[in-house]
């Protein structure tokens, strides 16, 4: 029986038919999705923090409105993803709990500090850019609620990257200090951004299964290469450089070669020793705890109103 169910499931996936919440699915598929979707949701939520840091200090009303809109979008992305994870039978509170206790991870990129205004540009261009590269194929993921959430997210993401590039472009045409600030932000964000695609293929044993289940469509290294190729061209328009001496076009491969990634740094940040891990988690927990009385009051009010309505009827 089990065998038949698994075969039917894989046939469905192979035929590019979406799996919906009530359909039978292998437990491992459900677990993989849960981990991936909730991790992604946490990243959207924690990802608001480094940018929120600059909202009050945006250099113009235009930039401030844009940054606010972007951060608000990220909150929405978190919501879409949490909702799709909930269809797999986990509660929102359980997921928050996993985040707050450190049991669940979020993207390591958000453990880096945003120390200058140019960081808002570098994040938009590189961090959102890498996220988009990752997420576009997820719009075709085999799990329906996930794929639908990703379609909505990808539609909204494209302005995130464009506003970031525009911000950097403005700085790149500014005075010497502004140009330096622009290059410095690119220098600091480049390597963490290409780490966002995750460990190299030979060290990510789960990729194969995820590809088979059509949760993933490309491997980490394939996506990373694509991102390097487009960024290496885009940076020229800024008149800036990527901080990699080994970045060079390889005619034979039809791709850019690039330098070795410092995976020690990556794993170190994943393990909690990045520059901002503690601060991010504490800010997040504080926001949740400080909001507790609001959630409780709203619930109490709603229940009281309901009672009144019942009596009046």
């Amino acid at each position: 029986m089990e065998i038949n169910l698994e075969k039917h499931f894989q046939d469905t996936v192979d035929a590019e038919i979406k799996i919906e919440p009530k359909d039978w699915m292998p437990e491992k598929y459900r677990q993989t999705l849960l981990r991936q979707i909730s991790q992604h949701a946490h990243s959207e939520i924690v990802g608001m923090l480094p940018e929120a840091n600059w909202i009050t200090r945006a250099p113009s009303l235009r930039r401030k409105a844009i940054l606010l809109a972007k951060v608000q979008d990220e909150a929405g992305h978190g919501l879409y993803l949490y909702s799709s994870a909930e269809t797999l039978g986990i509660s929102r509170e359980e997921m928050y709990d996993q985040l707050h206790t450190g049991k669940a991870k979020y993207s390591s990129i958000f453990n880096y500090p945003t120390i200058t205004w140019a960081d808002m540009g570098a994040i938009g261009w590189l961090v959102d850019g890498a996220a988009i590269m990752n997420q576009v194929p997820l719009c075709r993921a085999s799990y329906g609620p996930y794929a639908r959430a990703m379609v909505r997210i990808c539609k909204e993401e494209s302005f995130h990257q464009r506003q970031g590039f525009e911000l950097l472009l403005t700085l790149s045409k500014g005075n010497e200090a502004q140009k330096r600030m622009c290059q410095d932000a690119i220098n600091r964000w480049w390597w963490p951004s290409i780490m966002m695609f995750g460990p190299p293929d030979d060290e990510s044993p789960n990729t194969l299964q995820s590809v088979k289940w059509k949760i993933k469509r490309f491997t980490n290294d394939e996506l990373r290469q694509k991102f390097v190729d487009v960024s290496a061209e885009q940076v020229k328009l800024l008149g800036m450089v990527l901080p990699d001496k080994n970045l060079v076009w390889n005619e034979a491969r039809g791709h850019y070669d690039f330098g070795a990634i410092d995976w020690n740094e990556f794993w170190n940040v994943v393990k909690g020793n990045g520059p901002c891990n503690k601060q991010r988690l504490e800010t997040r927990k504080k926001a949740w705890e400080d909001g507790a009385w609001v959630r409780e009051a709203a619930m109490a009010y709603a229940e009281k109103k309901k009672e009144k309505n019942v009596k009046a009827a």
Binding site: K22, L79, S83, S91, E156, M299
Partner: protein, 94 residues
Amino acid sequence: MNKEWPLWEVFIRSRQGLDHKHAGSLHAADAAMAIENARDVYTRRMEGVSIWVVESKHIHASNPDDAGALYDPANDKAYRHPTFYDLPDELKHM
């Protein structure tokens, strides 16, 4: 007290004259808050002109395992489709 806000399903009419379509779900204390939150997350770019919300627990769904039996009655009735009928090419406006 520790009570989670209930889950709501959100349906949006994107343009006057179109059906409401499922957009997603969210948590809210009551219907009024669910509509306001839906406005904030699902219509930030003019995606809607009308919002419905319904508490998820009120939605009853068919079971995909029953799909075979459930839709079987419609399976062998090709004559319900206009293409079933063999008519001369000269026949116009039909």
